[in-house]
């Protein structure tokens, strides 16, 4: 049949219309709705995703997570609902780790520096392994393996590797926890950090530790805090810290003591409780036995004068803590970062003896030891005193080879130890990492390391939930090919696998076999959360759930005594620091970039600080009234000077800081660390002085006094505050607050009446009623 153009179009048009009518008749109504053109592409989700359970390693206390993977790419990190620590929840840091995995500045190849002053050049893994082997051979006992505090199999491998070569394994943590571990050991007799039954406590009393933001196990504690507030009478929370942290902001009562007097504040609370007879005589006797010298000489007025906290507030805290039980007291962070840190934390933890909170519901719960032989369940950094000795050894040329992983020691050490010069005297510095950090500037051999999303391991959370937990870590993604197929984003290898490849093989072949072997051993115990007929099925079950835990295997404690260290705090001098005003420096861990380990991730950089709302920078928090008195405005560039050095920060005055205190976040001021962190902000670690806790030798990182001077220039603070105009529910009331038992309607009505009274009153006084 021959058709002209018009006939052809007419025919095809009718055929198409018929097809549409026919098809539409056969479709259910909902499918038509789904295919409606007003729907979003999001309505038409079709791709299949997979969720893998793993553990977060050093980025977040070994939290158990689920990673969403599509087409071989990790897309999202969420809390693992099965994991007893995270229980399906997250922190602001979880997803930011994805950006380390896919970071544009990820180290792609092994790199070698042929001379100490030369540049790094790409080499092959074969060449790198040869260099590595020579460095180990030359070390002949003069070897130090430096890592972040490691639990689980990676910690075990690092220690055994160092021992095989007659070297030592030292952990570095810029925010030392040694004082905390010491206090827990001396007062509670526990090797592992305990957990706190916040969910069932009526009163929580905490000191210095930002436990809802960055301290301990924030995900675990955050979930418990939610449960704490769900109780019938919602619980009561008291927090003592010189600067208002995220945790202090959540408290019902905030106490802001003079830095370094937290232990005295604890004893003041104890003395009120004892004087008013609020607890049993046996508890008082047990408490006094734990405190060297007891509290008979402690008076409320003296404590109020020393700590700078009003006596009525101390009394209120004490009465609440003793009368509304179960109660729990704990501390850490800046409270332990003083020359009297051991005394401070010891006195704080001893308060639990007074109210009978040890191993009881709503109190302190011990954690047991490791479920796997030779695998550490607890880890902390070596003391600053030990580091000073070690670095002196490096400087003296006594150490041939230093292997560094997960510890940016050049960024994290104070200027006083002169770490850069020391590293220049070590013939072989071998650094592992995913992104070039400040320490790698001094490395002779740089080895690209897999992230926790690409490697095998186990992780024992500390603090755990009160029973044995072994979290599993498995590779959830393979090597990443660049989008344009030009090659691998990074030819990285696992730290553990590389050490094992260079070892004599006596403690493992590779990390995967170690993990599988450990799970097989756990299977043979016949206990815990996974039960299976065979070791193989057990292993798969544990990997699917993200680990293994045994709720019946708990810890225990035995009450001891607070260390008899110095009770008074020493601070550094400021006499020779030139012009300016003296402040007490209280550094704090950033809620998003932490101590700097997440500074490379742009999501972590951009996250507003909970209190200041600032991002992408280093700011200084000072009391707003004091700032007014000193003529300091927001954005003023301040020179912060200590006997160890000087940094520049941006002023951010607000009412949540004790006058005389200046709070500065940690984590910025990297010379390297990728395009998002390089040369950004200032490094507060660098100006810390070398004061130490008298008992443990830990760095007293909150004992530095500084002189603050305006630099004479002002810049805009990159912050979220002010980006959006506040839209109050009632004039001047952006957040509706009710009293206990009050309804929202009643509160709104009361606010309205108050506003009308204020508004009309003012108008009446000014005579402009009309």
């Amino acid at each position: 049949m021959k058709l002209n153009r018009r006939e052809f179009l007419a025919l095809t048009g009718k055929t198409a219309a018929g097809a549409v009518i026919f098809a539409a008749c056969g479709l259910p109504e909902r499918e038509l709705i789904v295919q409606s053109p007003v729907d979003l592409p999001e309505d038409l989700v079709r791709g299949e995703d997979a969720w893998y359970a793993t553990s977060m390693g050093g980025f977040s206390n070994g939290d158990g997570v689920l990673v969403r993977v599509m087409q071989g790419r990790a897309k999202k990190i969420e809390g693992n609902p099965d994991h007893p620590v995270t229980r399906g929840k997250a922190t602001a840091r979880f997803d930011a780790v994805l950006q380390l995995l896919y970071h544009p500045d990820r180290i792609s190849n092994p790199q070698l520096r042929y001379s100490k002053t030369g540049n790094l050049s790409n080499i092959s893994w074969d060449q790198a392994e040869e260099r590595f082997a020579n460095a180990l051979k030359n070390a002949d006992g003069a070897l130090t393996v430096v890592t972040n505090p490691l639990r689980g199999h990676l910690g075990s491998v690092a220690s055994k590797f160092a021992a095989q070569y007659n070297g030592k394994h030292m952990a570095f943590d810029p925010v030392e926890q040694g004082v905390l571990h010491g206090a827990v050991k001396s007062v509670l007799g526990q090797d592992q950090l305990p957990t706190f039954d916040i969910s069932n406590a009526q009163t929580v009393l905490s000191f210095g530790a930002d436990w809802l933001g960055t301290w301990g196990s924030p995900t675990q504690f955050g979930v418990k805090y939610g449960e704490f507030r769900e109780q019938h009478d919602r619980g009561y929370m008291i927090h003592a810290e010189p600067r208002m942290s995220l945790t202090a902001a959540a408290a019902d009562l905030w106490l802001a003591p003079v830095p370094g007097t937290e232990g005295h504040l604890a004893l003041g609370i104890a003395s009120v409780i004892i004087d008013e007879g609020l607890v049993s005589a046996s508890n008082v006797a047990a408490f006094e036995a734990a405190i060297p010298g007891g509290v008979s000489n402690v008076t409320l007025d003296d404590v109020a004068a020393l700590t700078g906290v009003d006596a009525d507030r101390i009394k209120k805290a004490a009465e609440r803590f003793a009368e509304h039980t179960p109660s729990v007291a704990f501390g850490g962070g800046s409270a332990g970062a003083h020359t009297n840190g051991s005394f401070n934390l010891g006195a704080i933890y001893a308060l639990n003896i007074l109210v009978g909170a040890i191993e009881s519901k709503g109190g302190i719960i011990s954690n047991p030891g490791s479920a796997i032989d030779d695998v550490p369940a607890s880890a902390t950094g070596a003391s600053f005193e030990a580091w000073e000795q070690e670095i002196a050894n490096w400087r003296a040329g006594n150490v041939e080879t230093v292997i560094i992983r997960g510890a940016d020691i050049v960024h994290g050490m104070p200027n006083s130890v002169a770490i850069r010069e020391a590293l220049e005297h070590v013939p072989n510095v071998i650094a592992f990492g995913a992104i070039h950090d400040d320490t790698m500037d001094f490395a002779d051999l740089v080895l690209p390391e897999e992230t926790f999303l690409e490697s095998w391991g186990t992780e024992i959370p500390e603090p755990g939930p009160g029973y044995q937990v072994v979290g599993t870590q498995q590779p959830v993604v393979g090597p990443t090919i660049s989008q344009d197929e030009s090659g691998l984003v990074s030819d990285a290898r696992g730290f553990g696998d590389t050490l094992l490849a260079m070892s004599d093989g006596s403690y493992g072949r590779d990390m995967e076999s170690l993990v599988r072997g450990a799970l097989s051993d756990l299977h043979s115990t016949g206990r815990g959360s996974v039960s299976a007929a065979s070791a193989s099925l057990f292993t798969n079950g544990a990997l699917q759930r993200g680990g293994w835990w045994d709720t019946d295997n708990n810890g225990s404690s035995s009450v001891g005594r607070v260390a008899t260290s110095a009770q008074g705090a020493n601070y550094s001098d400021t006499d020779t620091l030139g012009e300016g005003n003296d402040f007490h420096l209280v550094p704090f861990v950033s809620n998003s970039i932490f101590d700097g380990r997440l500074a490379a991730a742009p999501w972590a950089q951009q996250t507003p600080d909970p209190i200041s709302s600032a991002s992408w920078s280093t700011w200084a928090e000072i009391n707003s009234i004091q700032a007014d008195q000193l003529g300091i405005k927001e954005g003023d560039v301040l020179l912060i000077r200590s006997t160890s050095g000087e940094i520049e920060v941006l002023a951010y005055p607000h009412p949540g800081v004790r006058p005389g205190v200046i709070g500065i976040p940690m984590g910025q001021g990297h010379r390297k660390s990728g395009r998002y962190a390089e040369d950004r902000g200032s490094n507060v670690f660098s100006i810390l002085v070398d004061e130490k806790d008298s008992e443990t030798g830990a760095l007293a990182w909150a004992a530095t006094r500084v002189r603050v001077q305006r630099a004479g220039k002002r810049v805009k603070v990159p912050k979220f505050e002010g980006n959006v105009e506040a839209r109050p529910i009632e004039p001047g009331v952006p957040v509706l607050v009710v009293g206990v038992g009050e309804t929202a309607v009643d509160a709104q009505e009361a606010n309205h009446h108050l506003y009308q009274k204020q508004f009309l009153g003012e108008r009446k006084e000014s005579g402009d009623d009309e």
Binding site: V38, D39, L40, P41, E42, D43, G47, M70, Q71, K76, G88, A92, D95, A96, L101, Y102, P104, G213, G222, V223, R229, E230, R234, L246, A250, D252, W254, A256, V309, S482, V489, Q606, P608, P610, I611, S613, S615, P655, G656, R658, K716, P718, F720, E721, A726, R727, I729, E730, P731, P734, L736, V737, V738, E742, A744, V745, A747, N751, L754, Q758
Partner: protein, 248 residues
């Protein structure tokens, strides 16, 4: 249990302000889930950052009685949304599940909707979103990457709802209460954010919204939001005393 049939739900959120600690876990979870461009320092300084959910912080009082109040704010998915009637191209409309939806392909960037929104939760893409090539690996394929000139806002993670609905339909089961979680509610460590179906009287959110602390933001505008807030409790506040003006 709620049915998986389309149009039978009324999705909504209950925010318990008393549990919000201001940690920003929700903010980053949303950022990752919804392919929101990186808020560079320049964008933050120019007040052009995009954040579908934000945590506002307000100060009350002075030292030593200073208190920081946090409140998370996202699109309120109003039943009487001021943003909807002003859109000349129907890029934003109300769907039958209670959500205020944005159709990116229709948006021509008039920004009338943002001007009309009293909650300031709509964000305009002044620039083309840029990610270094390697960071594109973590983009969520379920969510459209918006281009320059397009308005965007919280979608209640509609793609998660659709995925769960589809899975439920395929399996011939109903959607269990709590099975659909937005990225923010899933991340929130204290469970201050709660998502669910208001049409199901037995759902968690339906029960929560009956709490005597419930209120909606800017109630006086009559927008009838599908985000319900439970007021912050201050143990020291005298009942019936009213709240003085705050700052910050």
């Amino acid at each position: 249990m709620t049915t998986a049939e389309f149009g039978t739900h009324k999705w909504g959120m209950v925010v318990d302000v008393d549990k919000c600690i201001g940690c920003n876990a929700c903010v980053i979870a949303c950022q990752a889930e919804n392919n929101i461009p990186i808020n560079t320092q320049d964008r933050v300084e120019r007040a052009r950052s995009i954040s579908w959910i934000r945590v506002e912080r307000y100060w009350e009082g002075d030292f030593p009685d200073a208190k920081a109040r946090f409140i998370p704010i996202m699109c309120q998915h109003c039943e009487n949304a001021p943003c909807e009637p002003v859109c000349p191209v129907y890029a934003t409309y109300h769907n039958s599940e209670g959500m205020n939806v944005q159709v990116y392909n229709r948006c021509v960037g008039t920004r009338y909707c943002a001007n009309g929104c009293p909650y300031i939760v709509r964000f305009f893409n002044y620039w083309e979103p840029v990610w270094p090539e390697s960071l594109r690996n973590h983009l969520n394929p379920d969510v459209t990457v918006r281009s320059r000139g397009i308005m965007e806002k919280c979608s209640f993670c509609v793609h998660r709802i659709r995925r769960e609905s589809r899975n439920a339909r395929s399996a011939g089961v109903e959607i269990a209460d709590g099975a659909v979680q937005t990225a923010c509610s899933s991340a929130c460590p204290t469970s201050a954010l709660n998502f669910g179906n208001f049409n199901d009287p037995d759902s968690k959110v339906s029960k929560m919204k009956e709490d005597k602390r419930h209120y909606t933001l800017l109630d006086q505008f009559g927008t009838d939001p599908n985000v319900i807030y439970l007021a912050k409790i201050d143990a020291d506040k005298k009942v019936g005393a009213g709240e003085a003006a705050t700052h910050g």
